[in-house]
Assembly symmetry: C2
Homo-oligomer: 458 residues x 2
């Protein structure tokens, strides 16, 4: 034990924490961006992520779980009288800084996942992904709607529908990180999960857009046109197809020109411009930026920058992105933990509804296992991998709490707490379940799908 | 020419720019942080930095100058009727996002400079640095005060004093970047400049704190105690000495513990924690965060993480920081350009005062060449390297414009414009002058100071 956590290291960390906390006290408050406060928040979050990850790695658990739980601890220490870290939630600069870096972190994470995914291999399991995703969206939507209608008869028709919608989308971030930690990202199961999560995200966001549209139309006294829903659906599908087809061509052309660039790090900068551009374009057409970042990672291919690498000896995109990601990605997971308010767990009725909603969310996604068309795969891992709702669920819940119908928010404060609990539990149970499952069914390298060096150009 | 700028690349870049500009129009406005807008701003700035850097590299100029000038173009295109990029100044999310990333960028830049500097070699030229810095602070202070008193008789005594203060501090960012681009960062001249710039920064900030204190005391109807000035000075000196002595010991201990860490990238994360911690602590004692980041880079030493590297095969801090810096550092230089308002150049009286103030700023720093105690060095390069006022000058000017004496701001709007022009000109003339000077006097490797492998432990 002494070797694992040398007492001096712990002392140093505690000293640093106290120091930073005291510093937060000493300095004033304001609405202008204060860089020292951002540094303080970044330091706190980074140290918490590292200590949490280290503790969970020692317990043979995915380090992402440690980052989440240490985030929850940071965010709720005020409950036991320690308000050192309140500035993470209360201070303007700390909040804005962490939010910004966390969002860049999750965008980079999905970009990394896209880079590690191979489009041609993804196509092979594309049919399975589509069936898995559709089952995994429709079932929880109906289950969630039903549970809400049964248990919350006082809430309106639209609240029930909205609660159903929050159960739809899979948060691929957690699952992807666990699969990466386990070294299983190249398995067919992982490809089905990631492919399904992307399709899921699109389907979930389409449902969200449709439900929001219906409620807004009802609020204005009318009903939504079917054509409006068709437009939302068409936009999303078109974006992904266009991104993959045009993006692949554009990437090849751009990297060919990179050979002539005189300034260094051209590969890294071009790759990041693609990542940010596609994330931005996804947002413009009404999708989550992470969908665009994933698409950008999917289209970038090692052959594109081969010439530049030969000429300048620059590194591969994967290894250039890694240092940037290892700073920013943990910020995302810790900040998700910080947003959890443990006081929600105090009300028995909220807790009961949350428990049943969580059950609906978990069971709803287990249906996904039935959607796999290939034989001999670990079906259960797909069902488990689809469980986490993570940031997508949180985003849905916060949109619902801002949506007003007849003067009342569609998602009430109590319902919001229940949704948050569902999100937290589904997110937290996935890593241990998934790693236990993968350890019980160790992956055998698939002889039928050898790695295609350099990938295939479209 | 065709090989240099393939027409297709230009087309792609223009298309991306138009697209992003149109996107900025399409989306709404607000005071909440909008991640798509941050992405749009980051994309615009990154592409501008890259294109600017590439153009200036082709013209055999330091690419940092291209980043600055393309920043000025982005910030002033509205003057010729193109308001595509107005969102960079007007939109809340774009502004906050760019400001935050730019500040992290300049902190990382100074950390990199610190990493490349060797404390023991710095000590060797420490006496020169101290004399150079002191001459370079006192002379411009007096010159600036005198010029202001002669040319602006209508402005008060305190305004004259404050204008003198804005001429004090050297902005080491620009010079460090030029020296890195030229591959001259290891020369004794570079060490004198960097050492002097750090001492300069401390001296400049002490003068700023003292002048501000005097004006505030006068405003309250009293006068400042001499003891108050002594406290400010003592705090700054103590910080640097303590940072170097304690930090070096702490770094050795922490990296020794890194050997036991199970999660990856420990070297990078610990190094960044040091960088952010020292930057934060510098801010707490009233210094600029970049001073702390430089000190952190100075104390980290390759021997400290040797054991971890041997065990895990992780990269050196320098190469791990590089990808992070190559994204963030250009954001800083472009954003400095964006802040320049070319309309200031329209008023002849402002222009005249600015010209004479700039002359005072340049001449004031040439006195530095006299402070070098070693023989046979390129004295002129030190004088030239101390010219840029950069972000420090801008920070001083903005503090002055917010400081009120008898109901009037100490630094008036016209004076502020003149100071901005001085900052821009001193910043812009340094790279070409410095690179021309270093090309005329190519550096001969110094046989008397061979590289000490691994450095010296304090």
């Amino acid at each position: 034990m002494k070797k694992l956590f040398p007492p001096r290291l712990i002392l140093i960390i505690i000293a640093a924490f106290i120091f930073t906390a005291v510093g937060a006290y000493a300095s004033g408050d304001g609405e202008a961006l204060s860089i020292p406060k951002v540094l303080l928040a970044l330091l706190t979050v980074t140290i918490a992520a590292r200590v949490g990850g280290e503790v969970f790695a020692a317990l043979k658990q995915p380090s992402v779980l440690g980052e989440l739980i240490f985030g929850i601890i940071l965010g709720n220490l005020a409950l036991v009288g320690c308000n050192w870290f309140d500035f993470l939630k209360a201070d303007y600069s700390a909040k804005v800084g962490i939010e910004l870096l966390a969002e860049l972190g999750v965008i980079l994470l999905l970009f990394q996942v896209g880079l590690e995914s191979d489009l041609s291999k993804m196509m092979k399991v594309g049919a399975s992904s589509l069936v898995v995703a559709t089952l995994g969206v429709v079932t929880p939507f109906i289950l969630g709607w039903g549970v809400a209608a049964l248990l919350l008869p006082n809430e309106g028709f639209y609240a029930h529908m909205f609660i159903g919608a929050t159960l739809c989308a899979t948060s691929v971030g957690i699952t992807a990180r666990v699969l990466m930690d386990l070294g299983c990202i190249q398995t067919p199961e992982a490809r089905i999960i990631l492919g399904a999560a992307v399709i899921d995200d699109v389907q979930g966001l389409v449902i969200l857009a449709a439900v929001t549209g219906i409620i807004e139309a009802a609020n204005a006294g009318g009903t939504m046109q079917a054509s409006g829903i068709v437009v939302i659906v068409a936009k999303a599908v078109l974006f992904l197809v266009a991104a993959i087809l045009i993006g692949r061509w554009l990437s090849k052309k751009t990297f060919r020109m990179a050979v002539y660039m005189r300034t260094g790090d051209a590969i890294l900068i071009i790759a990041l411009v693609f990542c940010f551009l596609f994330a931005y374009l996804a947002a413009i057409v009404g999708l989550a930026p992470i969908v665009g970042a994933f698409a950008a990672g999917l289209i970038l291919d090692e052959v594109h920058w081969k010439a530049r690498r030969r000429l300048r000896g620059e590194d591969n995109v994967d290894s250039l992105i890694k240092p940037v990601a290892s700073i920013l990605v943990p910020v995302f997971f810790v900040s998700m933990g910080i947003q959890v308010d443990l006081r929600n767990f105090a009300s028995p009725s909220v807790l009961a509804f949350a428990a049943i909603l969580t059950l609906a969310a978990v069971i709803g996604k287990q249906v996904c296992a039935l959607g796999i068309l290939e034989k001999g795969l670990n079906r259960m891992s797909v069902g488990l991998g689809m469980i986490p709702r993570g940031e997508v669920g949180l985003i849905f819940a916060s949109i619902g709490s801002k949506l007003v119908f007849k003067g009342e928010p569609v998602v009430s404060a109590a319902t919001f707490s229940a949704i948050v609990i569902m999100v937290v539990v589904t997110t937290m149970i996935t890593p241990p379940l998934l790693s236990a499952n993968f350890k019980k069914h160790p992956h055998k390298p698939d002889p039928k799908s050898p790695t295609v060096e350099g990938g295939i150009d479209l």
